[in-house]
């Protein structure tokens, strides 16, 4: 089969499986691209993941662009990036229509109440798993706490991007 089609299928599967955000996509990418298709070595993959984390945007999207480019140039990048977002957008288009129609339905309301609390569990968990991955020492913990404190300042509403940039400069000094 044509490589571009295989790229599309692989990244559509990654997009569908990347559930709950962030690094959840990593084992899926490894399964599809390293173990299954052998387009990348494990070393290359870990390098791509590291760069995907250092650059703006969701990891799964970044990884798709990168791997697509590696495998089939700019056309591959476009195909892989489209494939990684398309399945969830199709599902979302259907789901949001249904939710619009059932906005006042008490059964749907009950499910949505539960979902909201469930999302908070995923948020707390991602805070823990992500934090554990990037924070390895006390200075690191201090930087994370500082960033959180800056965002928490009421009234001032400091732009989150500014907080990240300041943390980067602090990183230059202390790491």
């Amino acid at each position: 089969m044509h490589t571009l089609w295989l790229l599309f299928v692989s990244f559509a599967l990654v997009g569908l499986g990347a559930y709950g955000g962030g690094l959840v996509a990593v084992p899926l990418i490894q399964h599809e691209l390293v173990d299954h298709r052998a387009w990348l070595s494990v070393m290359e993959m870990s390098r791509i993941i590291a760069i995907a984390q250092m650059t703006p945007g969701p990891i799964s999207v970044n990884a798709a662009t990168f791997v697509g480019y590696r495998v089939w140039g700019v056309a591959g990048a476009i195909v892989a990036t489209t494939a990684v977002v398309l399945p969830s957008l199709i599902i979302l288009a259907v789901v949001s229509r249904v939710l619009d129609m059932t906005q006042t339905n008490p059964h749907v309301w009950r499910i949505r109440q539960g979902l909201q609390a469930g999302v908070l569990s995923l948020l707390l968990f991602s805070m823990w798993s992500y934090g554990r991955g990037v924070i390895s020492d006390w200075p690191g913990l201090a930087v994370a706490a500082g960033a959180f404190a800056l965002l928490m300042i009421p009234k001032r509403k400091i732009h989150p991007v500014l907080v990240i940039a300041v943390a980067g400069l602090v990183g230059l000094i202390i790491f």
Binding site: G15, G17, A18, Y19, G20, G22, A25, I51, T55, P56, G57, P58, I59, S60, V61, T65, Y69, T81, S88, L89, I91, L92, V95, S96, D100, P106, W109, R110, I111, R112, Q113, G114, L115, Q116, A117, G118, V119, L120, S121, L123, F125, S126, M127, Y130, V134, I135, V143, A144, A145, A147, F148, A149, K157, H159, P160, V161, V163, I164, A167, L172
Partner: protein, 203 residues
């Protein structure tokens, strides 16, 4: 409902007129360009741009879209952009917002692949990005805080959150947290259907 929800920000001004697709695209382009990582970290930036700065959405509308974005497969940031764009300007808005969010990642990655790859090995660059990456943990914590603040403090929500944490905590796939939360919510919130119009969730 007996327990009030804390509200810290006013809703967007009524009658401000629909947001144009072009300004939607560029707003989400900014969000996509300036967020390190996606998902919950991007939710913090998105909230700042859409709720705090531009007042296009109320806090409730934003939070409500966040639970839908997480419950559906795919990158949360992209899902969130789709929903917010759709809310602000229908199908065209959804397309503009999604494209705006994905474009910066796409072009930045291509630029990295072409030019910047060698620089990522430099220890100074690595130290800078290490600092940035750690601050992202603070961003995620802040997203958790703003989200938790909107939930009612009652035993039902505590039960669902605790159960959901347990599921991912023992290493099960996050989809089980969503399934369990939906079922538990359905069971626990029986007879508590919304009584006020503002209790209805918006998409």
């Amino acid at each position: 409902m007996s327990l009030p929800q804390l509200s810290c920000l006013p809703s967007h001004e009524e009658g401000a007129g629909p947001v144009s697709c072009t300004s939607l695209f560029w707003a989400f382009f900014r969000i996509g360009l300036f967020t390190l990582g996606g998902g919950f970290a991007m939710a913090t930036v998105m909230r700042h741009e859409l709720v705090v700065k531009r007042r296009w959405l109320s806090e409730d509308e934003f939070i409500s879209a966040m639970s839908t974005a997480t419950a559906v497969p795919g990158a949360i940031a992209v899902n969130l952009a789709f929903l917010q764009g759709r809310r602000l300007r229908g199908k065209a808005g959804a397309a503009a917002a999604t494209l705006g969010t994905v474009c910066p990642s796409f072009f930045v990655i291509l630029l990295v692949a072409w030019f910047a790859l060698p620089y990522f090995g430099n220890p100074r660059v690595a130290a800078f990005f290490k600092g940035c990456g750690i601050a992202v943990a603070g961003q995620i914590a802040y997203a958790g805080f703003t989200f938790a603040r909107r939930l009612r403090r009652d035993w039902r929500n505590f039960t669902v959150v605790a159960f959901g944490l347990l599921i991912v905590g023992v290493g099960l796939h996050p989809v089980w947290t969503i399934i369990a939360a939906a079922s538990l919510g359905y069971a626990l919130f029986r007879g508590l259907a919304p009584t006020h119009p503002e209790d209805h969730d918006h998409l």
